[in-house]
């Protein structure tokens, strides 16, 4: 036993040295999509004269909001904090929570998959970009991080070896999956002039239990409490997916919706059916919208949000989609507390 321990320790030490040498050749790809986390944190920490409208979610929000329209139509400063579903909802919530100021409004639009499984596959790449974000990593993510560590190590080692061999360690990031694809609010706009791929990539749910849905809604309720303690507000906004996708996954989405309707305390701004759009509004995945889709979705949001923030300006109805999956009328916010919507605490009227 002693011999095994000694040799295993010696072997481990050799590997630590080799690893350290390889790591010294590694440089982080600052043009990568997730490198935008630096810019988003800079937006979040920047002083502001106006209350802020902070968008939180995965890429359905990064590719789903036209913040310029928000900035124009609402007296809020929009900040789109969203990056990727794999960052994990719990991490996203911690990230925004620590930076909230009185009067801020959080628009929370998690992907449906957050309710059925732990999504944390992109946390390691995120931490590589911004190690300071480790403070937001919830303990429940640790098993997932350990599960992904070997594969991520592979990525790092390959990049180091390319550097050692004198080749560029990273393939240049291309729009829209690049840091430069984001605009000054944090929305992805790099695909606005690009041609839509011929088909949308996969959408699905792994095995899940109803308990997972309940646990996530409970977590959101606790987040709501903490946000209110900071004199800010949070609204829930269903993600936009194609109507055909909703039909295909109706059973799971109905379960999520039922649980939200039953127990969630956060006011809900729309419903899954009303959040759907025709296929031509989608870019490359079932969550990523084109420019037209982003703008339309944002207008739906503004219309739903107005009753809650005491504004009465009409929203343009132009660009409304036509046939397949045309969204219905934007419903009033629902939810346990939203039947009598609380009025915003720090709302200003839109300047004339």
């Amino acid at each position: 036993m002693r011999k095994l321990i000694l040799r295993a320790t010696a072997f481990a030490l050799v590997q630590i040295v080799v690893g350290a040498v390889l790591l010294s050749f590694y440089d982080v790809d600052e043009s990568a999509y997730l490198a935008a986390t630096h810019d988003k944190h800079a937006l979040l920490e920047r002083p502001s004269t106006k209350p802020r409208l902070i968008f939180v979610g995965g890429s359905n929000v990064a590719f789903g909001v036209n913040s310029a329209v928000v900035a124009r139509d609402l007296p809020y400063e929009p900040i789109n904090l969203a990056l990727h579903v794999g960052v994990g909802l719990r991490l996203m919530l911690r990230e925004v929570e620590q930076s909230l100021r009185p009067g801020d409004v959080v628009i929370l639009s998690p992907e449906y998959q957050h309710f059925t499984g732990r999504r944390a596959g992109m946390v390691l790449p995120l931490l590589e970009q911004r190690p300071a974000s480790i403070q937001y990593v919830p303990p429940v993510f640790i098993p997932t991080l350990l599960d992904h560590a070997i594969n991520h190590a592979g990525v790092v080692i390959r990049a180091s070896l390319r550097n050692i061999l004198g080749r560029s360690s990273h393939t240049p990031a291309a729009a829209p999956y690049a840091r430069h694809a984001f605009n000054r609010y944090g929305d992805v706009v790099g695909h606005w002039r690009m041609e839509r791929p011929s088909k949308l990539t996969g959408f699905g749910f792994g095995a899940y239990s109803d308990g997972k849905i309940q646990a996530m809604v409970g977590h959101l309720n606790r987040f709501d409490d903490r946000v209110r303690a900071k004199h800010a507000r949070v609204f829930f906004w269903y993600p936009t997916i194609p109507r055909s996708t909703l039909r295909e996954h109706r059973e799971t989405i109905a379960k999520i919706e039922a649980e939200i309707r039953r127990t969630m305390t956060i006011p809900v701004l729309n419903q899954p059916d009303a959040a759907t759009l025709p296929l031509e509004f989608f870019f490359d995945t079932h969550y990523h919208l084109t420019e037209k889709g982003m703008t339309y979705r944002t207008r739906m949001l503004i219309q739903s949000l107005r009753p809650h923030i005491d504004l009465d300006d009409a929203v343009d109805a132009e660009d409304a989609p036509g046939d397949e999956g045309a969204p219905g009328a934007v419903p009033a916010a629902s939810g346990r507390r939203s039947r009598q919507p609380r009025r915003a605490r720090a709302v200003r009227r839109v300047p004339a």
Binding site: M1, L4, V14, P143, L146, I150, G154, I157, S209
Partner: protein, 485 residues
């Protein structure tokens, strides 16, 4: 907990240290039992209760069998164990398949039934531990095994974490005596175990996970893929499932060696088989022998005439197909293997299985090479049914492969797929190297036979293999394929 993760790499030394820090076997078995339940709870702790309940029933039944002599009473006791195990397996794995099949059959005669399906999560490894548990009570019933007196030993046997989730399905006759007897730490066994674990990591992370990307991209939309690409993806799947599953078995065996326990070897170079019957003697050996001993032999085995033997083979493979998955494509897959082997039995006396796959010569005769290639081609053909989502989809794939075979333009997507990613090309090279290495070491269990090397060179070899494995690791890892069974 999955073997090829940092979680397991950190977990294993903790359990190893705890296990060997105790002198008494009972304490070591208790450590093993707790470690196994933590390992299993990592997926879903609720299913630990399910496993514990069925295992305790089996323990009770086996203890009762030791006291009862009357045949009918013994049969009733065995029935309790079989029903408890099979009903759990049936509910979690086959309920939806059953009601959907009934509804489809009723619909075909115009009787419309809305099937009441359930959103059931399949407990990891249920087919494996259920079969392991059933073999225990059957062996006790047959008086081939004395029931375990110690409940901890029994629970440790059924939930033995190295083999818990995807086998090898270890028999009580082999494992229980090891758990009940004194184990001493053996340096050479531990080193052999670590080498097997390393070989398993390489096969899973470098080959299986890389090939999974090619297979998934073609099989996720077979209606838009071209025939040559689908044929290539099927060959890739043949190596993916082999490297995936044999990797799991290697890591399981290696881990067991670390704890001084020997478990059955599950793979013995199956793709060098010269006929399908030999393939099944080399592929998933623990399951094949399980079905041989508990299904084929009770049906009559080799003691009956050729026709009856062929029918028995067909039945055994049908059951094996349904064991793999609750879907008709698995049933067809099993039936195809069974029918092919059964036909072979009818035609000629089975050829003996060579001790060394492919024979002793490193350059095989042309006839041997052709027989190996023919067997591999048949296995690949049948894998289409295993990998496809349905029988209809599998038939569609085979049709596309046949129709596109003589269309030169249909080969273009195949070239793109292979050449558009450096990592994928590296995986292709690795498959070639892997086959060559397997051929050269087919009289041994793994390639790390480096004992005669000087220690510095040996460490350098290990280090190079470790970092090469990490460098070629896929960007994402999938669960082991057999977890779903």
């Amino acid at each position: 907990m999955t073997f090829t993760t940092l979680t397991f790499i950190l977990y294993l030394p903790i359990v190893f240290g705890l296990y060997w820090s105790f002198k008494r076997q009972s304490a070591r078995n208790l450590v093993m039992l707790l470690a196994s339940y933590v390992f299993y709870a990592w997926w879903d702790y609720r299913f630990c209760v399910l496993m514990l309940a069925t295992n305790l029933i089996d323990y009770g039944v086996a203890r009762a069998l030791a006291r009862v002599e009357e045949p009918k009473a013994r049969w009733r006791l065995l029935l309790i164990s079989l029903v408890s195990n099979l009903s759990v397996l049936g509910f979690f794995k086959y309920y939806n398949f059953f009601v959907e099949s009934v509804a489809a059959a009723a619909g075909s005669v115009g009787w419309i039934i809305d099937p009441f399906t359930l959103n059931i999560i399949l407990p990891a490894g249920i087919s494996f531990y259920t079969f392991q548990a059933m073999s225990y009570t059957i062996d006790v019933y047959r008086r081939q095994l004395d029931p375990s007196r110690n409940v901890i030993d029994h629970l440790s046997y059924v939930s033995f974490f190295p083999t818990l989730v995807a086998g090898p399905i270890e028999r009580g006759t082999a494992l229980l005596p090891q758990l009940a007897s004194s184990r001493t730490f053996d340096y050479r066994n531990a080193v052999t175990g670590l080498r097997l674990i390393g070989w398993g990591f390489f096969k899973k992370l470098v080959i299986a996970d890389q090939l999974a990307i090619i297979v998934e991209s073609s099989y996720s939309a077979p209606d838009v893929a071209r025939g040559p690409l689908l044929a290539f993806a099927t060959i890739c799947f043949a190596f993916q499932i082999y490297c995936d599953f044999s990797a799991y078995s290697d890591i399981a065996r290696g881990t067991a060696w670390l704890f001084g326990v020997d478990v059955i070897r599950n793979f013995n170079y199956p793709y060098f088989s010269q006929n399908l019957a030999e393939f099944w003697r080399r592929w998933h050996i623990s399951l094949s022998t399980w079905f041989r001993d508990y299904v084929y032999v009770p049906l009559g085995g080799n003691r009956v005439g050729r026709v009856r033997r062929a029918v028995n083979l067909l039945i055994t493979f049908l059951v094996s197909g349904i064991w793999h998955g609750a879907a008709w494509n698995f049933v067809v897959w099993g039936a195809l293997h069974g029918a092919t082997i059964a036909l072979g039995t009818l035609r000629a006396k089975p050829a003996p299985t060579p001790a060394i796959p492919g024979g002793e010569d490193n350059i095989p005769s042309l006839a041997t090479a052709l027989r190996m290639l023919r067997t591999f081609a048949i296995v690949c053909l049948f894998w289409v049914f295993f990998r496809a989502e349905s029988v209809r989809e599998a038939l569609g794939i085979l049709k596309l492969v046949a129709v596109d075979a003589f269309r030169p333009r249909a080969y273009l997507p195949l070239l793109d797929t292979v050449t558009d990613d450096g990592l994928r090309m590296a995986a292709m090279v690795m498959v070639g190297v892997f086959v060559a290495v397997e051929w050269l070491i087919r009289d041994r269990e793994h390639p790390f036979v480096v004992d005669r090397m000087p220690i510095v060179l040996r460490y350098a070899t290990y280090t190079a293999c470790l970092w090469m494995t990490l460098a070629l690791t896929a960007r994402r890892t999938g669960q082991f394929i057999y977890f779903q069974f």
